[in-house]
Symmetry: C2
Subunit: 389 residues, 2 copies
């Protein structure tokens, strides 16, 4: 086990009607003049946006709104939000939506008190130390951004999709999680969210750090719960209990509890970010394609942990690690397939992917050698992309 | 799953030399004039107390010390600490020790800013809302107090041992966890700590709340890790990795992550508190005696969750719930026995327990009907105490 620091101060309020606590929680967090960030029409149509605005108003909190966040959110709206915050004297943000909305709110929160270009943080030029406070009303369990210190933004100039990871600056002050708000998610989006949260665990789990039994067992537990509950939400979208289990799993998948004491990897995420930046696919769907390909490469080169995953999560029986690893990958692909997710580029709708460009941009963004579980240069990442054909 | 609020803001710094961060973390927490609370000679002899004092001093922080905390800590030292804090202008506390030391520091922290008698909080007369900030340097993984909002103090007048549970007021600001500090724990104390942390999980796990798969799986994961790592620390006390796994498990067992979304029970703890208050036994040893007895009663009256525990944690195979539950209890007793723990009153050194007094004080403290998993009156709690003979 490696030394670590772990601090997750976000206050989670979980259950039916959780969004009605927006006003009281914002007040506790000292928010007075709030920008409410949201995406498209669903937050309006479902009434959740209005309920949040009403709750904030009834707590005496001023609000302005910024809508129009789209999947794989881009820097243009971040710049617009920063300008609006500065001119409106905004002191905090509340995101009503999923990861894209939360990440946009976080990037704005970071940019407002900073004198330079907010992209400096994403480009790694400046360390993120301070930001406006952010609260969350979650409507899509997937990205885990409601409990993480991270934000992923795509720069339109060059379509560079970059993930920024901070220790504390971007951890939300509060996150309101009402499983009922997820009843109306379309099946494909539900499934993509499940693939995303599983990937957040697996990026941490596939680690070479030995002697992390406690963290392994917690990670395996969350994965097992997701695999058990996922078919229920696919079959009956308004199954409150199954939705609740999936929603809380998505938070635990990414708030750090599955990563304590070990080096993490995140190569599959980096490889997927290039796919969604280039082809605009859903992040979770891209992960369902890339992760099994990455695992297939690892089954050849470093099978032990893939085999452990197979045995403990999917009940794989083989004693030989390489065989067990391959069986684990087949089980995972079968599970993704059962949710209606793609597991190849073709199924993702990308018949002839430009692998050379994906590889070039990946290493341009991340360096010549990437990966914690196993080091990969362009030769190997090309092989992994090809394994997803 | 029930609605819940979950917030664990404690900053954990985990690893070799973690205690050397006392000064920097105390400074971040705004501490200026600190009372350092500790127990007996081991904190002095091992040098950890001096290292913490040096670290605080080098950060420009003033300190006074209060030693002499004993297991099952009593109110007399709390009163003394409150007086010392008030007369010395103390603004915060750092506990160097295990649960008894931390709980004493917490009770002092609660009492200093309160006009009345600190026992009012423990007697349930006043709700704990505010306290001086507390930091922790953990030396005994067991009580989980380093991450909880709880404190357990015994009132000498009447020997009433009462547990106070707060949402936020008593959550430590920081907890420094160095597994090396636990190398010198005697085997019996190590084993008692293991029984204590397992009980913290099981009190939450044995719940009638349905549809808490995610929380169950996390709880089972932590239990499994403890059961795997425990024999290693018993065999080789200076096995850093096993000690690290046990130490972090003890924190996760009690910081709330194993309880989200369900009603909890805590009857076994309440029943044990009467035993240790009356006979001065180690809390963990008392739990190793009481919990299997409680489970044996439940195997008769509500076996399903006991059976699930057996199947998922101990690999019990029986399909019949009652049989599986009884096998689970045998497996648990066998595990405790392998650590050198008692599983009967006699093995605990209490040949002829005064069960009438235990029962009377239990219900005097906790009410005529207790328990969340199954409601128990004096008739049933007497039966459970007898099952431990």
């Amino acid at each position: 086990m490696e030394n670590f620091t772990y601090c997750t101060p976000t206050k989670y309020v979980f259950g039916r009607g959780a969004e009605l606590n927006a006003g009281s929680e914002a007040k506790i967090a000292g928010m007075r003049n709030v920008m409410v960030v949201y995406g498209g029409g669903s937050a309006v149509a479902s009434g959740v946006l209005q309920r949040v605005l009403d709750s904030l108003a009834s707590a005496g909190i001023q609000t302005v709104t910024l809508g129009g966040v789209r999947p794989n959110p881009t820097d243009d709206l971040v710049y617009k939000g920063i300008d609006m915050c500065r001119s409106g004297g905004i002191d905090s943000l509340v995101a009503v939506g999923g990861g894209s909305v939360i990440d946009t709110a976080k990037a704005i929160a970071l940019g407002v008190p900073y004198d330079g270009d907010f992209w400096d943080f994403f480009a790694g030029k400046v360390k993120a130390e301070t930001a406006l406070p952010v609260g969350v009303v979650l409507t899509i369990p997937a990205a885990g951004s409601e409990g993480s210190g991270n934000s992923v933004i795509t720069r339109i100039d060059g379509m560079r999709k970059i993930s920024l990871r901070t220790d504390m600056a971007l951890r939300p002050r509060f996150a309101l999680l009402n499983p009922e708000l997820t009843f109306t998610l379309p099946p494909y989006q539900t499934a993509c969210g499940i693939a995303d949260m599983m990937a957040h665990i697996m990026e941490r789990y596939f680690s070479t750090t030995p002697d992390v039994e406690i963290t392994d067992r917690v990670a395996e537990g969350v994965l097992t719960a997701i695999i058990e509950e996922a078919p229920k939400v696919m079959e009956r979208p308004d199954d409150y209990q199954a939705r609740a289990n999936i929603m809380w799993s998505g938070t635990l998948a990414h708030n750090g509890i599955c990563g304590t004491g070990r080096r993490e990897d995140w190569t599959s995420h980096a490889m997927e970010h290039e796919i969604s930046a280039l082809y605009g696919v859903a992040h979770g769907a891209g992960l369902a394609v890339v992760f099994p390909a990455w695992m297939t490469f690892m089954a050849e080169h470093r099978p032990a942990k893939i085999a452990q995953f197979g045995r403990r999560v999917f009940g794989v029986q083989s004693h030989d690690d390489r065989t067990a690893a391959m069986e684990a990958i087949e089980a995972l692909k079968g599970f993704y397939g059962s949710l209606g997710l793609p597991v190849t580029f073709a199924e993702l709708g990308v018949e002839d992917p430009d692998i050379a460009t994906l590889v070039a941009k990946l290493h341009d963004n991340k360096g010549a050698a990437i990966g914690g579980y196993y080091t990969l240069t362009a030769k190997e990442t090309e092989e992994i992309y090809r394994l997803a054909l």
